[in-house]
Amino acid sequence: MVVLGVAASDSHAVANHLIAHSLRAQGLTVVNLGTCTPVSEFADACELYPAAEAVIIGSLNGHIHEDLHDLADAKLQGRINCPVIVGGNLSVGSAKDESSTTRLYELGVDHVLAHPDSLVPLLDSLRAVGAPVTRELVDTTAR
């Protein structure tokens, strides 16, 4: 089972619909929270569905970092215990570089994927190593 949704300030619906559809077609149970989902709502869903293997967050509008500003808190409080996977268009502007991915890891994201096709293989590999295991958190608030 996975929890899926789009980041808080982002209303792009299409990739979300398609990813939900394709994960379901591959046999997964998907709790799809849809567009405009703040971290608090992902955390509520994790509490409601303790069997969730991962939280999968899409973002296209370029605002992923601000939208996940409170992710590390939710993880430190133990409200999100499973790995957090992020994908989509992960910065504002047409010129892209690695720093947007690095910053996501700093915010507490565990995996950044370029393509939705990598989701199922990643979930399989997490299951194989006995996930849920999340990356060690970098406590950005302490800096």
């Binding site: 808080a8 209303s11 567009t35 370029g62 605002h63 010129a95």
Partner: protein, 445 residues
């Protein structure tokens, strides 16, 4: 207030915008500023025989926004300029907008006007000659509208349906309709003070088409792009009725809108260049941009909203935005006067579109209370959109291009279409497909 759940979406509280000038002061300022209104610019472009050009443009930093506008005016020769507003502001997440602005303005996907404040809005407005429009996507635009008017900006996009369903997850339609009725009633007050606010409705709604079974990938949908714009506008827009101010401007086909509006309302058709997933390669993207611009010219649009060759990648840089405007302007060239469309086929299509519109909107317009009639119709699927971002539309309809490229209903969900309309949609989708009936040889849209 938690930054993540704007409480104002639940109740009627309007987040207070501090220290705004009064409406009368703003009206005086607008008069003194003496800029042409968007409507005047559209009229003068029409007289000159050209489609007015307007870019999408919005960046986080104030200085950067000023520089962007200046260059789009000077090099892009835009007729109307835009302040595209960032996603946080659209959803009343002002704390997030402020934090992003402090941390790094380049991380914002638009200009956070409420956070920058109306004095800076005036600065931008005064720095360029063309009128400016606020383009956003706010289910509840009251604070943004107040700051826009105080900034002297008199062109404001949006409405209670079109800025709810594609732009938020869980704002009740009753709330957005009420919030926008307030915006429109302020437009009415401004009209009393001699200031006409130009209100544009966003007709493309989700802007999304399914084309999974279109052979040929990115190019398959080409033929119907223009019709796509029109079809979706028409089918979905008339449910919204501009209220208040004396002048409505609509993005639908004038013929269909006119039926449902009082006499004397000035109507302009606005064409958005292709709103779906763009090709990543520059030359393919530019073909699509030019095709859209040509459609605007041939369709008699008053203005077009341009795209850029960087559309698939991210918010464009200034150079790409300028290039998009210049490319679109080529479609205005007198040399292209020889390009024409099959007017018989267009007339036939228009008649069917008007019929479908009537079948969908007339039952809603009969409701004694229009606003609750709209809410109920969406709840029951009698009004609907595909790929809704919002839970408050059922999204039981699926649009699909027919082999000629025109958009049809593959699934019409709960829309109250007549048997004749449903049959026609089915027939046109089937014709010309492998295994489907042969396509008639006469040219048809």
């Amino acid at each position: 207030m938690s930054t993540d759940s704007p409480s104002s979406f639940g109740g009627d509280a309007v987040p207070a915008v501090p220290e705004l000038p009064t409406l009368r002061e703003s009206a005086d300022y607008i008069r003194k500023l003496g800029k042409p209104s968007a409507a005047e610019v559209l009229e003068s472009c029409r007289l000159a025989g050209r489609v007015a050009l307007q870019p999408r443009c919005g960046v986080g930093g104030h200085k950067e926004m000023g520089a962007l506008l200046a260059q789009l005016e000077r090099d892009g020769r835009a007729d109307i300029l835009t302040l595209t507003i960032d996603s946080h502001t659209r959803l009343l997440r002002f704390d997030n907008a402020a934090r992003a602005l402090r941390a790094d303005p380049r991380t914002l996907n638009g200009y956070p006007l409420v956070t920058h404040g109306w004095e800076r809005g005036r600065e931008l407005n005064e720095s360029v000659a063309p009128p400016m429009e606020i383009r956003h996507g706010s289910p509840d635009a009251r604070p943004l509208f107040q700051v826009a008017v105080a900034s002297g900006i008199t062109s404001f996009e949006g409405g209670g349906i079109s800025y709810n369903l594609p732009y938020s997850k869980d704002v009740p339609l009753a709330h957005s309709l009420e919030a926008w009725a307030e915006v429109d009633s302020v437009c009415g007050e401004l009209a009393g003070l001699g200031i006409i606010v130009d209100r544009e409705l966003f007709g493309t709604l989700t802007a999304v088409l399914v084309r999974v079974d279109q052979p040929g990938g990115e190019h398959a949908g080409g033929g119907g792009r223009g019709r796509r714009g029109r079809a979706l506008h028409l089918r979905l827009l008339p449910a919204e009725r501009p209220a208040g101010a004396g002048r409505g401007r609509a993005a639908g086909h004038p013929a269909a809108r006119r039926r449902y509006l009082p006499a004397g309302v000035q109507i302009h058709a606005v064409l958005h260049e292709f709103m779906g997933v763009f090709p990543r390669e520059r030359n393919h993207a530019e073909e699509l941009i030019f095709y859209g611009a040509l459609t605007a010219r041939l369709g008699g649009a008053s203005k077009m909203i341009t795209k850029t060759y960087q559309e698939a990648l991210g918010i464009p840089d200034t150079e790409a935005n300028v290039a998009g405007l210049r490319l679109a302007d080529i479609a205005n060239s007198e040399l292209l006067g020889f390009v024409s469309v099959d007017s018989g086929a267009v007339a036939e299509e228009l008649e069917w579109i008007c019929r479908e519109v009537a079948e969908i909107v007339e039952p809603v317009l009969e409701a004694r209370n229009l606003r609750s009639g709209i809410v109920t119709a969406f709840a029951e699927g009698k009004l609907d959109i595909p790929f809704s971002a919002s839970r408050h539309a059922r999204s039981e309809i699926t649009p699909l291009r027919d082999p000629s490229g025109a958009i049809r209903y593959q699934e019409h969900g709960g829309l109250p279409l007549s048997d004749a309309s449903v049959k026609r949609n089915r027939r046109l989708l089937a014709e010309g497909r492998p295994g489907g009936p042969a396509r008639p040889t006469c040219s048809r849209c």
